[in-house]
C-alpha cells in the first residue's frame, strides 16, 4: 500500500503523519508495515473483517425510514495508534473529570453547594429535564452515581478536547473489543511488535466495579443487565456485556418487585437481584415514577432503589451532568470540587439560554454546530457549514421557539486518520471514546472506540449517521 495520493492537510491534525508527510514516531512501525503490504491483501483483510462481523452478528440497529434494521458496524482495519505518554495524560484527565462529575451529582442531589456558591446557575440544574427530583437525598454506594462513563474526545491542532460526557448509558465498548479482536487477528506480526496494551479485560473490570456497588455484602451478588430488548440499537452490546460480566440479560418483564426487593423469574423460582446494570434510559425505568406508559422498566423499582435494596448503574439522574449546557461548567466543577486545573479542555460552548449566546448562535449559524441539549447519537444536530439556507432557516425557527433547548459550538477541525477507502489510503475525521469505570476506585481500559466519519469530508462520526469504527492501539512504555 502506498500513501502517494494521501490527502494530508495541515488544517487538520493527522493521527499518523506530521505536517511534512513523515510518519509520527509512534506510527513508524505501522507505516512501514503498510508500505510492505500489497493493497489487495489489505482489501481482502477488510472483507474478512466485515464478513466475520456479519456472521458473528456484531450489529447495531438503525431506527426509522428505509434504512431501518440490523446493520454491521463498518470497521476500518487500519488501527489508530496512541503513544504511552499521550494515553497517560488522557487517563489522568478522564479520571479527574469523572471524579468531579460524581462529586457534582452528589452535591446537586444533596445540599447543592455548587449552586449556592453561584458556580453553576440554579435554573440550569433544576430546569434540566434530566434532573431527577426523585434522587434528592438518595444515598448511592461510595458516592458513585456514574460507574460507567464513555467520554467523547476529539483532537485538533491545539490538542485533545472533551466533546461530550456520556454518563447515562454510554455504548460502543463492545465494538472496541470486537474491532481489536478482528484487527489483531489480521495484523498479528505488527500487533506483537508494537507492544499494544490489551483491552479484552474490560468485562472483568466492569464486573468488579458492579460488585463493589452491590447493596449487601455478598461474595457473588446477583448482577443483571437490563436491556430495552432486541430492537434497541445497542442490543448486540447488551448481549456481549452480559456474557462478559457473567450477568443475566433481562428485560423489565423478567423482573418483579416484592416485599421491598427486586426478583427475576427463573425456571427454578424467583431470584433476588442485587445490581442492575441498566441500559434503559431513566424515563423508562419505573412507570410509577417516570413515564407511566413505559413497558421497558419495572413498576416499583425506584422504591426498592431508594430503600437501598438494589443498585442501579448508572444511578438515575446522571443525565443532568452530561446535559450539553451543563457540560460548559465541567471545568469549573473540577476547580470547585478538586481545586485542580482541568487536564482536558472543553470545546467552547454557547449556551442559547443566555441571551448573548443565543444572539451569537443565530448570527453565526453557518459557522457553528448547533445541538439540542437533550439529544444524542448525532440526531437533531445542525452542522452549519454542511447545511443549506433552508435547513438553517428551519433550524433558526426552532431555536427561537425554545432557545434553552440548544447549545452551539464552533466547527472543530477534527483530526484525521488514514483509512482504507476503495482500495487506497484516504484521510477521514475521527473521534475517540474511552471508557472509564468507577466503583470504589477508577479503572480505565487502555483503549477506546474510535469512531470514523467514513463519508469524505464529513464530521459526523455517529454509527447511526454513516460512521464506522477503528481499532485504537495504546502502546505500552
Amino acid at each position: 500500500m502506498d500513501f502517494d495520493a494521501y490527502d494530508l492537510d495541515s488544517a487538520f491534525y493527522d493521527e499518523m503523519f506530521l505536517p511534512d508527510g513523515t510518519p509520527r514516531d509512534h506510527c513508524r512501525g505501522l507505516y512501514e508495515s503498510l508500505l510492505r503490504l500489497p493493497v489487495d491483501e489489505l482489501v481482502r483483510m477488510q472483507e474478512r473483517v466485515t464478513h466475520s462481523f456479519s456472521s458473528e452478528g456484531i450489529t447495531f440497529t438503525v431506527y426509522g425510514g428505509e434504512e431501518a434494521g440490523e446493520r454491521i458496524m463498518p470497521v476500518d482495519c487500519l488501527p489508530r495508534i496512541l503513544p504511552a505518554d499521550e494515553w497517560r495524560h488522557l487517563e489522568a484527565g478522564l479520571a479527574q473529570r469523572l471524579k468531579a462529575l460524581n462529586r457534582f451529582l452528589s452535591d446537586i442531589y444533596g445540599s447543592a453547594h455548587i449552586v449556592e456558591d453561584g458556580v453553576v446557575p440554579v435554573d440550569l440544574v433544576r430546569g434540566c429535564p434530566q434532573y431527577r427530583v426523585e434522587m434528592r437525598g438518595v444515598p448511592v454506594p461510595h458516592g458513585t452515581y456514574v460507574a460507567v462513563c464513555g467520554t467523547d474526545l476529539v483532537r485538533t491542532n491545539e490538542g485533545f478536547h472533551v466533546l461530550e460526557d456520556n454518563l447515562r448509558v454510554p455504548s460502543g465498548v463492545s465494538y472496541m473489543v470486537a474491532n481489536r479482536k478482528a484487527v489483531k487477528a489480521n495484523l498479528r506480526r505488527l500487533y506483537r511488535s508494537c507492544k499494544v496494551r490489551e483491552v479484552e479485560q474490560y468485562g472483568r473490570l466492569l464486573r468488579e466495579t458492579l460488585k463493589e456497588l452491590a447493596p449487601r455484602e455478598e461474595n457473588d451478588p446477583c448482577v443483571v443487565l437490563l436491556t430495552p430488548g432486541v430492537y434497541n440499537a445497542a442490543f448486540y452490546e447488551h448481549i456481549y456485556l452480559a456474557h462478559e460480566i457473567g450477568a443475566t440479560l433481562v428485560e423489565g418483564r423478567d423482573l418483579l418487585v416484592d416485599g421491598g426487593y427486586v426478583y427475576m423469574r427463573t425456571t427454578s423460582g424467583l431470584q433476588r437481584v442485587d445490581v442492575i446494570y441498566r441500559r434503559v434510559d431513566d424515563d423508562f425505568l419505573d412507570p410509577l415514577v417516570f413515564r407511566p406508559d413505559s413497558l421497558l422498566g419495572l413498576p416499583g423499582l425506584m422504591g426498592v432503589y431508594r430503600a437501598g435494596n438494589v443498585t442501579l448503574v448508572n444511578a438515575p439522574g446522571t443525565g443532568v451532568a452530561d446535559d450539553k449546557s451543563v457540560y460548559a461548567y465541567v471545568p469549573d466543577m473540577i476547580r470547585y470540587y478538586l481545586a485542580e486545573e482541568p487536564l482536558l479542555r472543553n470545546v467552547k460552548t454557547y449556551i442559547c439560554r443566555r441571551p448573548e449566546d443565543f444572539e451569537y448562535t443565530l448570527d453565526n449559524l453557518r459557522d457553528l454546530v448547533v445541538k439540542r441539549v437533550g439529544e444524542s447519537g448525532g440526531y437533531g444536530m445542525l452542522v452549519g457549514p454542511e447545511s443549506t439556507p433552508d435547513e438553517r432557516d428551519a433550524y433558526a425557527r426552532e431555536l427561537r421557539e425554545n432557545p434553552a433547548d440548544f447549545i452551539s459550538q464552533p466547527v472543530l477541525d477534527l483530526s484525521r486518520a488514514p483509512c482504507l477507502i476503495e482500495g487506497r489510503a484516504a484521510a477521514r475525521h475521527v473521534d475517540l471514546r474511552p471508557f472509564v469505570l468507577h466503583g470504589r476506585e477508577t479503572r480505565i481500559v487502555p483503549g477506546a472506540f474510535c469512531r470514523v466519519a467514513l463519508r469524505e469530508g464529513s464530521l459526523v462520526v455517529n454509527s447511526s449517521q454513516g460512521g464506522g469504527g477503528k481499532d485504537v492501539w495504546v502502546l505500552g512504555d
Binding site: 456479519s54 456472521s55 458473528e56 452478528g57 432486541v230 442490543f235 448481549i239 452480559a242 456474557h243 443475566t248 440479560l249 433481562v250 428485560e251 418483564r253 423478567d254 418483579l256 416484592d258 426478583y263 427475576m264 423469574r265 427463573t266 425456571t267 427454578s268 423460582g269 424467583l270 433476588r272
Partner: protein, 322 residues
C-alpha cells in the same frame, strides 16, 4: 435460568425442528413433481399442509386437471411454504424466528451454535422462489434440512448440558412428536379413504422419517403399511420414531426436575410418562395406531402448556420460599 430465556431456547428448538421437517417434506414433494401421477402430487400437498395444521391458500389445489396446472399450483404452494412472510410456518420464517430467539439467548448457547444458525439465516436472506425453482429445488430443501442437522451436530458437540440444553431438547421433541403424529394421521386417513388403485406411497413416508434403510433391514423391500407404522411409531432404535421422541421428552423432564410449581411439573412428567406407555403398549393394527396417534397429537399440545405452566409462566402466589 431466566424463564424467558428457557422459553426462547424451547422455541428455537421447535422452530428448527419445524424447518427440518418441512424441508424434508418439501424435498420429497418436489421430487414427486417430476414423474408421479397428479393424484399423488395432490395428496402430497394436502399431506404437507395437514402436517403443518394448515389449509392450502384459497384457490389452489381446487382443479388439478393438467400437468401445467399442477406445476403452476406447485410453484405457488412451494413459495407459500418456503418464503411467504405471512405464513408463520414457512421455512424462511422458521429460520428467522429461530435466529431471533437465538439472538436473544446467545449467552446460553455456544458461540458455534450461534455462528451456524446465523450463517444459515444470512444465506437464506433475500432468496426467492424464482431463484431456487430455476434448477433443482430439491437440492435447496436438502440444504436447509442439512443446515438444521449441522446445527444439531454443533449443539451436540459444543453445548453445556445444563437446563438450557434441556429446554432446547424439549422444544425439539415436542415439535417432532406433534408433526409426526399429524403427518401419520394424514397418511392413515388417505390410506383408508382411497381405493386400491391409489398408492399413498408408504415408501415416501419412510424416507420422510429417514427410516427406509432401517425398514428394509428390519422387514423387507416390500412396503406394508402396518409395518411402516410399527417402525415409525413404536421402534426403540429408529432415531425419528414417535416412541424415541416421547422417551426423550420424559427423560428431559426428569433431568430438569421439579420447577417452582411442583404440582405443574409433576403433572407434565406424568403426562409425558403416560404417553410413552401408550405408544409402547399400542396394539399392532391400524385402528389402534390411529387412536394412539390422535391421543399423542392432542396430549403433546397439553404437554406444551403444562411445561409453560411449570417453568415459564408459573403463578407467583404458589411460591412460598424465596
Amino acid at each position: 435460568m431466566l424463564s424467558r430465556s428457557a422459553q426462547g431456547l424451547y422455541w428455537m428448538g421447535r422452530y428448527l425442528e419445524r424447518a427440518a421437517h418441512l424441508s424434508r417434506l418439501m424435498q420429497l414433494q418436489v421430487e414427486t413433481l417430476v414423474d408421479r401421477p397428479l393424484r399423488e402430487i395432490h395428496f402430497g400437498w394436502n399431506r404437507v399442509y395437514s402436517s403443518m395444521n394448515q389449509s392450502p391458500p384459497a384457490g389452489t389445489l381446487e382443479a388439478f386437471g393438467s400437468d401445467d396446472y399442477a406445476l403452476a399450483d406447485s410453484y405457488t404452494l412451494a413459495d407459500h411454504l418456503t418464503f411467504e412472510p405471512t405464513n408463520p410456518d414457512s421455512i424462511w420464517n422458521c429460520f428467522a424466528y429461530a435466529r431471533e430467539n437465538a439472538r436473544q439467548i446467545r449467552n446460553y448457547i455456544s458461540a458455534e451454535m450461534w455462528l451456524s444458525l446465523n450463517t444459515t439465516f444470512l444465506r437464506l436472506q433475500g432468496l426467492t422462489i424464482q431463484e431456487i425453482w430455476k434448477t433443482a429445488p430439491e437440492s435447496f430443501y436438502a440444504g436447509t434440512g442439512k443446515d438444521v442437522a449441522t446445527f444439531t451436530g454443533v449443539a451436540e458437540a459444543t453445548m453445556y448440558r445444563d437446563d438450557g440444553w434441556h429446554f432446547i431438547q424439549l422444544g425439539r421433541y415436542i415439535e417432532r412428536v406433534q408433526l409426526s403424529a399429524s403427518v401419520l394421521l394424514a397418511q392413515i386417513e388417505a390410506h383408508d379413504s382411497q381405493d386400491e388403485s391409489f398408492d399413498a406411497d408408504w415408501a415416501n413416508l419412510l424416507h420422510l422419517f429417514r427410516a427406509f434403510d432401517a425398514y428394509v433391514h428390519t422387514y423387507s423391500v416390500v412396503v406394508q403399511p402396518g409395518q411402516v407404522l410399527d417402525l415409525i411409531v413404536t421402534d426403540e432404535l429408529l432415531p425419528g420414531s414417535v416412541r424415541r421422541s416421547l422417551d426423550a421428552i420424559a427423560s428431559v423432564l426428569d433431568a430438569i426436575g421439579s420447577g417452582p410449581s411442583p404440582d405443574a411439573s409433576e403433572k407434565a412428567a406424568a403426562l409425558g410418562a403416560s404417553l410413552c406407555a401408550a405408544v409402547r403398549d399400542c396394539r399392532n393394527d391400524v385402528t389402534a395406531w390411529r387412536a394412539t396417534l390422535e391421543r399423542v397429537n392432542g396430549d403433546s399440545r397439553k404437554l406444551h402448556q403444562q411445561i409453560m405452566d411449570a417453568f415459564i409462566a408459573y403463578p407467583l402466589e404458589s411460591l412460598s420460599e424465596r
